[in-house]
Symmetry: C2
Subunit: 309 residues, 2 copies
Amino acid sequence: MVAADNLQKMPKDTTFNLAAYLKERQKLCETALDKSIPIIYPEKIYESMRYSLLAGGKRLRPILCLAACEMIGGTIDMAMPTACAVEMIHTMSLIHDDLPAMDNDDYRRGQLTNHKVYGEDIAILAGDGLLAYAFELVAMQTPESVARERVLQVIARLGKALGAAGLVGGQVVDLDSEGKSDTSLETLNFIHNHKTAALLEAAVVCGGMVAGASAEDLQRLSRYSQNIGLAFQIIDDILDVTATQEQLGKTAGKDLIAQKVTYPSLWGIEESRAKAQELVESACIELDTFGELAQPLQALAHFITSRNH
Amino acid sequence: MVAADNLQKMPKDTTFNLAAYLKERQKLCETALDKSIPIIYPEKIYESMRYSLLAGGKRLRPILCLAACEMIGGTIDMAMPTACAVEMIHTMSLIHDDLPAMDNDDYRRGQLTNHKVYGEDIAILAGDGLLAYAFELVAMQTPESVARERVLQVIARLGKALGAAGLVGGQVVDLDSEGKSDTSLETLNFIHNHKTAALLEAAVVCGGMVAGASAEDLQRLSRYSQNIGLAFQIIDDILDVTATQEQLGKTAGKDLIAQKVTYPSLWGIEESRAKAQELVESACIELDTFGELAQPLQALAHFITSRNH
């Protein structure tokens, strides 16, 4: 506990170089993702999956997954298949959400969306294919040093985060709330808890699971990630109002045009920022008990509220 | 081996009542599927998943899965989560294949297709949600009497059967071959090996896996199911030409209209029927070594070629 207390009083950047950490971890994730999907016949579907999966992005979810695993005492190898699976699930949700029948988006991460390049049919199938890979990867590639029961728990957790109790359910309510200016804070929270926080939480908790975390530590990881998940979404909403399309790499001001209720529209920009900051502080406090080992996850939490794209 | 030889000489229907067997198994599967998905908020997505999952159908894949498990010496309980998962994956592939961006079908099993009832957005999400449930179910509900490593093998196998190396890959080539009258037999085989046979094979092989089948027995199950998978597709193609819409419960003559190359268009109807029959015989011979225990799977193989819808 002494170490944790000292850390609290110290400016984080003197003890931990987040920029270097992110760069190294992004590279590790890129390499693993690149290896995870080959290009074979029928090439088009593999190319389509790779187009979206390897389109850059911050790789925040897989990096969180690896960091949680290491904080609990596991290795990168233990968590990498799960980290890649989380990114595949995330990518699949973006591909399907961008479809004309859903949010109808033409740009994502500064590139044309999957269906604009490969057609709607292939985009739907690329999403399905990525999901299949995600589960196959965790089941096949997680090293034997991880108890098999733990791997099954990870798969169940990923399934839950993806399905009607997670991403899918959040998107349903989100689609339903479009064009309605009287969406309640309760509904808005439901949307973001399911669309954003559920997968972030699964990334972090599953990282802890493969490392053999205790039930108590999984609870800490869960509370940490719920807080940063919501902070992440609040910042996303703020950026939709304040950032340019160039910075975002996707259509800006979209929420306003779709008359979506967002946190800034409910609370104003300043209060939204303050709330996000508060959530990040709470998230960090959850992990103080891990002392120096918590540095990466705590720095990542602060990174989330400071980003401008 | 004596038992198996005797069985060969006996007319199958005197020793095994397939109709009663199918009825009982269908009921078991319906009950398990019904229980697997509740209706909670947001109700629309759960209703949409249930609409397609509980729309009847022969439940051939889950029944094959249970039968393979029992033939190897396992129990129904061991295989039921896997059987339900297979049916969820199958249903998801139907929902997505029926979408306007894909095969654009209005009817399936005599009912309006999912997107005609719930809209394209919900139909896409219902498919995604069913996939998520499929993997979650196997990971969470397979009883502890099945070795955890086996459960992981089942999940990997289901992922493969679903993804670009299975259903998804087959659908990509199928979409690509539409409107082309010069599709080769090689391409046609690729489509059906991936669109139809891969999941049938996974159903049977995974049924064996949960029962702890040896590598040799899994090979037998694999050859059995590859044969019946192809026979199944040939019969499907024949029925598309010869059956009425009422019998099929879906649009008839669709392949002809889409100028799809089919087995009857390559070989004629009679030769196609003969080929299907031959495949079924080969399938049954693979299982002769299991004697009486093979009766359900052998009777199911014959059932596939005798069906008229």
